[in-house]
């Protein structure tokens, strides 16, 4: 118990020094900070709030499909696999251009996915081992590249270490443009292919027997999840982005038993977690944004669990 306490202390201390805060940019008290947040007038705050709302939408939307397809941990492996790509994307032109970081992250993430599929096909290893292997391997590679980058003269100014735990305050209008575009693409794709995604998630064999393309839907979803992870990591970080994909949709699954409602609830809970997390981080001192979004999401999950556990919210409680 003592050891766990000590471990928690170090983890919290580590989070404290790594994760960025929005609240510490000013010396206002919490009431004034809350007023600033609610009035939505501060331009830098507008970017942050808009960014986390988009993040909540995107993560809630794609997270629902990951959960029902039993691919929750897949998103965790994928989010860690993008880290080396971000560093290489920076090294490409030694600038923190969103496009090159995005491209690096997408390529690195897809290499991670390719490794997962190859190992699955050619070895006897099971999913959990393969995901653990890729997750830790790519993450370690990313950390090594990141540490090496810190030793390069321009490298220590890159701020890439913020990608580990996220920095919502560092979102720029260019980031918002990318996030908005990719979110619109995700919503459009899921709107268009909703019934095909539903049937292939529920009963793949039946879906393919009706002539649906086996690979197209899987690859479409994979691309959308990769995009979602890539646009979210700046705000929540590679370590915690999968939480924003998993927690809101898991909560939604406790509340309803139809997929379209799971998606809508999940988006709502995603936005709520992101905004409340950012609000708390903004109004109180020393509270990091990314981890606090996740803590808010987890709190909503616990409350939902306690309420549904007593059969108050759902009609047909699962046994």
């Amino acid at each position: 118990m003592k050891r766990i306490g000590l471990l928690c202390f170090f983890l919290l201390a580590f989070h404290h020094c790594q994760a960025a805060k929005i609240g510490d940019v000013t010396t206002l008290n919490w009431q004034e900070q809350a007023l600033r947040f609610i009035t939505f007038k501060d331009p830098s705050l507008q970017i942050v709030i808009l960014g986390v709302i988009i993040l909540g939408i995107c993560c809630g939307l794609l997270g629902s499909f990951l959960i029902v397809r039993k691919k929750a941990l897949f998103s965790d492996a994928l989010s860690h696999a993008v880290l080396p790509g971000i560093v290489i994307g920076f090294l490409w032109n030694m600038q923190k251009k969103p496009l090159s970081l995005l491209m690096g992250a997408v390529v690195s993430g897809l290499i991670g996915v390719w490794v997962i599929y190859r190992l699955k096909k050619t070895t006897v290893l099971k999913d959990d081992s393969i995901l653990g292997l890729v997750l830790t391997g790519f993450y370690a590679l990313g950390i090594c590249l990141l540490t090496m980058l810190q030793n390069v003269p321009i490298g220590h100014q890159s701020g890439l270490d913020k990608y580990l735990f996220g920095q919502a305050a560092a979102l720029s209008w260019e980031d918002i443009k990318w996030m908005t575009s990719l979110t619109i693409v995700s919503i459009a794709m899921i709107w268009i292919f909703y019934k095909e995604l539903l049937v292939s998630s529920f009963d793949p064999e039946f879906a393919y027997s009706t002539g649906l393309n086996k690979y197209f839907l899987d690859e479409l979803l994979l691309m959308l999840v990769t995009f979602t992870i890539v646009i979210s990591i700046k705000a929540v970080g590679v370590v915690l982005v999968s939480a924003m994909l998993i927690i809101p949709s898991s909560t939604a699954l406790l509340l309803t038993n139809r997929l379209h409602k799971v998606i809508l609830f999940s988006i709502g809970i995603g936005i709520l977690s992101a905004v409340i997390g950012t609000f708390l981080s903004f109004t109180m001192h020393n509270l990091p944004t990314g981890p606090f979004m996740v803590i808010t999401g987890a709190t909503i999950f616990i409350l939902t669990f306690l309420m549904t556990f007593k059969g108050k919210l759902i009609r047909n409680p699962r046994s």
């Binding site: 029902v68 039993k70 064999e205 039946f206 799971v262």
Partner: protein
Amino acid sequence: MIKDYPLVIENLTASYDKNPVISNINLKIPSGNIVGIVGPNGAGKSTLIKSVMGLVPKYTGKIYIFGQPFQKASKYIGYMPQRENIDWDFPVNVYDVVMMGRYQKLGLFKKPKKADREFVDACIEKVDLTAFKNHQISNLSGGQQQRVFLARALAQESDLYFMDEPFAGVDAKTERAIMGVLQELRDQGKTLIVIHHDLATVKDHFDYLVLINHRIIASGFTKEVFTIDNLEKTYGGNLHIFREQKSQ
């Protein structure tokens, strides 16, 4: 000719990996029959129907569905998979699952219309599940879940059906109810290919029979093919139990 034989298989060999599960399969299934595919466990019954639908990727040989390859003929096919392969906690209700049967007729980009919704309701009514229409599927019994899949197959309005063990784990009453629906489809001129494992009911259920054990042992009308001789060839030494049952 094409209409007389909705499914023609020529020299099919199918495998999940290097070792073929079924080999040298030649079949001509006549239309308007309930066809039983019978054989021991691991004989390749499911592999046979899955390879017809392209679900088992590697195969040699040719398959014609109403004279066309699967890619062009998938619209004529209805499929009822095994219940065991499904996550019954998936967030869908009975209505949603049966509506999936309409998706192919709807095509891409289109949402279900009033006619589709009414047709789905009629299919649910046919399998006697109207009272459970809005129930989440995990709240159904095994027999009810099987009937949901039957209703989905009905919603497909196909001419050729493949059914993987539709009677597995259902009680006698549900089996009779499912059989009633299959006979009705047969009487409408449709062809139903059904994987089955209970030898005691083969004679009652099927007009036509395919006996399989990695290769075709015999195929033909049930009264001609369902003989002790053929069954022994199919099941090898495991048939003594059946012999005992018959002699009692």
